[in-house]
C-alpha cells in the first residue's frame, strides 16, 4: 500500500451518502427512537445541590407508590473498588469516580448528579415517582471558579484526591488532580534574546457540545444473563466495556446495538443512562428506556472545561518567537479528568518555538464532570496563544499571516511532548489563506456605532489512530456488503466505503456499508479523535485487500493457473490475455461455490497532525455590544479529502460551534452552584440567522502514514474560531477581549471602559 494523491476513481468524489434517504424521510432509527415490546420508562432523581454529603436516601414512599416498578440507588451497583480503567478515549479514569458520575455514592460534587433512578409504566409516572424519594443532604458551600479552587485554603471537594506530578502524589488532598509540565530549551535565555516580551491572561467559560439528540438508553436484561443495550453513542464497544466493568458482567453477555446518533462531538463517548437502565431492567425483568430532557443534558452530562490561562511570549523585532510560557488551568468539573493535557500538547503546535514551558492544571470544581468536546482542550489553549500573538503583531505592526508563516512549524520541528513533526501542511495552509479572495479583499467602512474588524487565527490538532475493524462480504453479483465497526456520526459509512471501492475498483454504489452490533464485528475504538476515516478506512482497505487476495486464489483454481500469474487492476482480474471484470469474477467464484469474506482489524498509529487558518470579518454595534459575522473563511489541511462535501461540512460545523463558544455560549451559575441557563432558550447556540455562508478551502498535503493520505478532519475546525472572533472584535473596537464569551454585555462593557 503506497501513499500518494494520484488520480483516484472514487476518492475525492461526491456521492450521496448511503444512509441519506432514511435520514431525510424520518425513518432512521436513533437511540431516542428505540423501543421493545413490554418496554417501561426510567427516570432519574438529580441532586439540586452542587456540593453535599448524602446522609441517607429513603426510597420507601416511592416504592410503596402504586405506579412504581423499581427504584435503584448507588447501593444496587457493585462497589467500584480502588482501581483505574481505560475509559472510552478519555485516558485512565478512577473506577470510583466513573461510578459516582453515573450514580452518586455518599457525596455530591455537582448539581444534576444522579442520586436514584426509578422505572414506571410511563415517563410521566416515572417523573412523578422521583419526587417521592427523600434524600437527606448535608449541603456544603460549592467551589465554582478554577482559580478559587486552586487556593491552598479552598474547601477540598474530593478528600481522596491528591495532586499527581510525574507519577508522584502529594500527601495532602487537593482540588488540583494533576500538574502537567512540558519544558524544552532554555526559556529564560529565550526571553533575554527577545526585543519584546508580553504576558496576558485569558479565560473561557464552560460550554456544552450541544448535540440536538439528548442522551438515551434502552436496556433489556434477559433472564439468561444476556444484557442487550441500544443507545446512541460514539462507540458501542466502549459502552459495552464500561458496562462490563461497572456491572461486573462478562463482555460476551453484553450486546450493544448501535442506534443512529444525533450528534456527539465527544460528549457521547461514555455511559450515563446505560448502567441505570440495565440495573432497573434486571430488577423488573422488562426492557427499560431512559432519555434525558435538555436540562438534564446540560447539567448532567460532560461539557467542555472552562479555563483560566496565562501566556508569556518573547519575540524579536523581526517577529521571530524566542520563548513562550503557557499556563493552563482547566475546570475538570466534579471529578478529575479535563482535557488540559491535550490543551498543553496543542497550544503552540502551529509555531516552531525552541524554548518553551507549558504547565497544565487539572482542577476539580463543583460543576458537571467535563468530557471530550471536539479537539478537547485545544480551542481554549490555542485561543490564549493566538490572541496574545495578535497583540504582539499589533505591537510590531506586522501582518498576522506573515508572522505565522515566519514562525510556522514544519516537518522535523519539536512538538510539545518532545517528539518531532512528521510531514505536515502548516505552511501550505497559511499560503492558501494569504491567497484567498477574503484575505485580499477590503474590509469595508465602519460607520458610526457599527465598527468593522478582521481577525485571523491558527488551529492545530493531533488526530488519532487506534483499533478498527472491517469485514467485506462479496456477493455473487459483484456487490460488496461492508461491515464496519465505527459508529457513523455524519457520513463516515460512505467515507469508509469509498476507500474500499477505490481499492477494489468498483463503483461506490456497489458497496453497502453497515454498522453492526458488538456481537457481529470485532472491536473498534470510539468515533472520536478524528480517527474514523483514517483508521477504519485503513481497516476497510485491508479487508478489501484480503477479499481481493481470496478472489485471486479462487480464480487461480477457476482458470487453473498459478495465483502469481493473475494481475488485478481497477477491478479487473487478468491472466495471459484473459480478463474478468469484478462482477464476472464474483459470478464465477459463486458458481464455484466459494464464499469470499475479507476481514481486517487494523491499528494504525501514524495519524497525521493537522492545521487550520480561519479569517473572520465582524461588525460590532458599540451601542448594543452585538457582534455580526460578515464573512468567514476556513482553511485546513485534510491530507487527502476522501469525501469532500463532508470535509467541508466538518469545517463549516466546527466554525459554527466555535463562533458560539466565542460569542454567546456559557454556563451561568448562581453563587450556590445552580446553573441558571439550562435550556436552549437561555443557553444560546448559533442559529441560521447568526452566521453567513462559510467559505471553505481544503488544502491537501497527503499523510504518508495512510494508503490514500488521509488525515483526520473533524476536530481542528473548532480550534481557530475563538481567537479569530476575539481578534476581529478587538480590531473593530480597539479594545482587547480576553475573556470569552464576547457576549453583548461583555463587549458593551469593554467599549464603555475604554471610553
Amino acid at each position: 500500500m503506497t501513499a500518494g494523491n494520484g488520480a483516484y476513481r472514487v476518492v475525492g468524489t461526491r456521492p450521496v451518502r448511503h444512509d441519506g434517504v432514511d435520514k431525510v424521510t424520518g425513518r432512521a432509527r436513533y437511540g431516542v427512537d428505540a423501543n421493545m415490546p413490554g418496554m417501561v420508562w426510567g427516570k432519574v432523581l438529580r441532586s439540586p445541590h452542587a456540593r453535599a454529603r448524602i446522609r441517607g436516601i429513603d426510597t420507601s414512599r416511592a416504592e410503596a407508590a402504586g405506579q412504581v416498578l423499581a427504584v435503584v440507588t448507588g447501593d444496587d451497583f457493585p462497589d467500584p473498588g480502588a482501581g483505574e480503567a481505560e475509559a472510552n478515549e478519555s485516558g485512565m479514569q478512577s473506577l470510583r469516580y466513573m461510578a459516582e458520575r453515573v450514580i452518586a455514592r455518599g457525596r455530591v460534587t455537582y448539581e444534576g448528579q444522579v442520586i436514584a433512578a426509578v422505572a414506571a409504566a410511563s415517563v410521566h409516572e416515572a417523573e412523578e415517582a422521583i419526587s417521592l424519594i427523600d434524600v437527606d443532604y448535608e449541603v456544603l458551600p460549592p467551589v465554582l471558579d478554577v482559580r478559587e479552587s486552586m487556593q491552598d485554603d479552598a474547601p477540598v471537594i474530593l478528600d481522596d484526591l491528591h495532586t499527581e506530578t510525574g507519577g508522584v502524589f502529594d500527601d495532602n488532598p487537593s482540588n488540583i488532580a494533576k500538574h502537567f509540565i512540558f519544558e524544552e530549551g532554555d526559556v529564560e535565555a529565550g526571553y533575554a534574546a527577545a526585543d519584546l516580551v508580553m504576558e496576558r491572561s485569558y479565560s473561557t467559560a464552560m460550554v456544552h457540545q450541544g448535540y440536538i439528540e439528548p442522551h438515551n438508553a434502552l436496556a433489556y436484561w434477559n433472564q439468561d444473563g444476556h444484557l442487550i443495550v441500544e443507545s446512541s453513542s460514539q462507540g458501542h464497544f466502549g459502552i459495552r466495556d464500561e458496562l462490563a466493568t461497572m456491572l461486573e458482567h462478562p463482555k460476551s453477555k453484553i450486546r450493544v446495538l448501535p442506534a443512529e446518533i444525533g450528534g456527539g462531538f465527544g460528549g457521547k463517548t461514555t455511559v450515563y443512562l446505560e448502567p441505570l437502565a440495565a440495573v432497573l431492567s434486571r430488577k423488573i425483568g422488562r426492557p427499560v428506556k431512559m432519555t434525558m430532557n435538555r436540562t438534564e443534558v446540560l447539567i448532567g452530562t460532560g461539557p467542555a472545561p472552562g479555563a483560566f490561562m496565562t501566556v508569556k511570549m518573547g519575540v524579536t523585532n523581526e517577529g521571530k518567537i524566542t520563548a513562550v510560557n503557557v499556563d493552563l488551568a482547566f475546570e475538570a468539573g466534579g471529578y478529575p479528568g479535563s482535557a488540559v493535557s491535550a490543551g498543553c500538547l496543542c497550544c503552540i503546535g502551529p509555531f516552531d518555538i525552541e524554548n518553551f514551558r507549558v504547565d497544565g492544571y487539572d482542577v476539580v470544581v463543583n460543576k458537571p464532570k467535563s468530557h471530550a468536546y471536539r479537539a478537547p482542550g485545544a480551542p481554549q489553549a490555542e485561543f490564549a496563544v493566538d490572541a496574545l500573538i495578535d497583540e504582539i503583531c499589533e505591537e510590531l505592526d506586522m501582518d498576522p499571516l506573515e508572522f505565522r508563516r515566519l514562525n510556522a512549524s514544519k516537518e522535523g520541528d519539536l512538538r510539545v511532548d518532545g517528539t518531532r513533526f512528521h510531514p505536515i501542511g502548516n505552511i501550505e495552509t497559511i499560503d492558501a489563506a494569504v491567497a484567498t479572495d477574503h484575505w485580499q479583499s477590503e474590509l469595508g467602512e465602519s460607520t458610526g456605532t457599527k465598527r468593522r474588524g478582521r481577525g485571523v487565527a491558527s488551529g492545530y490538532w493531533l488526530n488519532g489512530g487506534g483499533k478498527s475493524s472491517a469485514v467485506a462480504r462479496l456477493n455473487g453479483d459483484g456487490t460488496v456488503t461492508l461491515l464496519e465497526g465505527s459508529m457513523d456520526i455524519g457520513g463516515t459509512r460512505t467515507s469508509i466505503a469509498m476507500q474500499l471501492a477505490e481499492f477494489l475498483g468498483i463503483p461506490i454504489e456497489d458497496v453497502d456499508p453497515i454498522v453492526p452490533d458488538t456481537d457481529s464485528i470485532a472491536f473498534t475504538g470510539v468515533t472520536g479523535g478524528s480517527r474514523v476515516t483514517y483508521a477504519t478506512g485503513w481497516a476497510a482497505i485491508e479487508a478489501a485487500e484480503d477479499l481481493k487476495d481470496q478472489m485471486v486464489e479462487g480464480l487461480a483454481d477457476y482458470w487453473d493457473v498459478p495465483a502469481e500469474s493473475i494481475s488485478f487492476d481497477a477491478g479487473v482480474f487478468s491472466q495471459n490475455g484473459t480478463s474478468l471484470n469484478f462482477t464476472e469474477a464474483a459470478a464465477a467464484l459463486q458458481e464455484d461455490g466459494l464464499e469470499v469474506v475479507g476481514k481486517a482489524t487494523a491499528s494504525p498509529n501514524a495519524a497525521g497532525n493537522t492545521f487550520a487558518i480561519h479569517i473572520a470579518d465582524v461588525e460590532v454595534d458599540t451601542e448594543t455590544g452585538k457582534v455580526d459575522v460578515l464573512r468567514y473563511t476556513a482553511l485546513q489541511d485534510a491530507g487527502t479529502a476522501i469525501y469532500p462535501p463532508y470535509v467541508e461540512g466538518q469545517m463549516e460545523g466546527g466554525v459554527a460551534q466555535g463562533v458560539g463558544w466565542a460569542l454567546n455560549e456559557e454556563y451561568v451559575y448562581s453563587p450556590d452552584g445552580r446553573m441558571l441557563n439550562a435550556s436552549f432558550l437561555d443557553y444560546r447556540m448559533p442559529t441560521s440567522l447568526d452566521l453567513p455562508m462559510i467559505e471553505t478551502v481544503i488544502v491537501e498535503v497527503p499523510n504518508p502514514g495512510h494508503p490514500y493520505g488521509v488525515r483526520g478532519v473533524g476536530e481542528v475546525p473548532i480550534v481557530p474560531p475563538l481567537a479569530a472572533m476575539a481578534n476581529a472584535i478587538s480590531n473593530a473596537i480597539g479594545v482587547r477581549i480576553r475573556d470569552l464569551p464576547a457576549s453583548p454585555r461583555e463587549v458593551q462593557a469593554a467599549v464603555a471602559n475604554s471610553a
Binding site: R14, G20, V21, V24, G262, G490, E652, S688
Partner: protein
C-alpha cells in the same frame, strides 16, 4: 372529537398525513409524545421540549408548529403533516433530494424538522432570498452543519420546484 373516557384518557380523532387517526392520550401528553410514543411516527424528534430547537416541527392546519408545545388533545379535528408524509409513492420531495445532493445533513437528527419547516416556507414563498431562508429557519437548531449547506439546499430545492411548476 375529543372525548374523555373512563380511564382519564381522552379519545382524539385527527388526520395525519391525509389518513384519519384515532388515539387515546392523557390530557398532559404533548402532540410530539403521541406521535412518537403512541403512533410510531418517530421522525419528529425531541431536542428541547420547550419550542427552541424545531426538531419536532410538524404542520398543523397549515401552520408550522413545534409539536412539543402542542397538547395532543388540541389535535382533535385538525389536519397534521409530519416528515413521514413528505415523500410520496413517486419518490422523494425535491427538498429531500436537495438535502441529499447538497450534503445538508450530518448526524441527521434535526433534518426532519428542517425539511418540514422548509417545505412550509416554500409553500408560502416559492422564491425566498438567502436572508429569508435564514430568517424562517432560525427556529431550527442544527449543531453539525453550520447551516451553510442547509440554506443552499433550500434555495436549490426552491429553484427546482419553480422550474417544475
Amino acid at each position: 372529537m375529543a372525548t374523555e373516557i373512563l380511564s382519564g384518557k381522552v379519545h382524539v380523532q385527527t388526520t395525519i398525513n391525509g389518513e384519519q387517526v384515532d388515539f387515546l392520550a392523557e390530557p398532559r401528553e404533548s402532540l410530539l409524545e403521541v406521535l412518537r410514543d403512541h403512533l410510531g411516527l418517530t421522525g419528529a424528534k425531541e431536542g428541547c421540549n420547550n419550542g427552541n430547537c424545531g426538531a419536532c416541527n410538524v404542520v398543523m392546519d397549515g401552520a408550522l408548529v413545534n409539536s412539543c408545545c402542542v397538547l395532543s388533545v388540541e389535535a382533535a379535528g385538525a389536519s397534521i403533516e409530519t416528515i413521514e408524509g413528505v415523500a410520496s409513492p413517486e419518490g422523494l420531495h425535491p427538498l429531500q433530494q436537495s438535502f441529499l445532493e447538497n450534503a445538508a445533513l450530518q448526524c441527521g437528527v434535526c433534518t426532519p424538522g428542517f425539511i418540514v419547516a422548509a417545505k412550509a416556507l416554500l409553500e408560502e414563498n416559492p422564491n425566498p432570498t438567502e436572508y429569508e431562508v435564514r430568517w424562517w429557519l432560525a427556529g431550527n437548531l442544527c449543531r453539525c452543519t453550520g447551516y451553510d449547506k442547509i440554506v443552499r439546499a433550500v434555495l436549490d430545492a426552491a429553484e427546482r420546484m419553480r422550474a417544475e411548476a
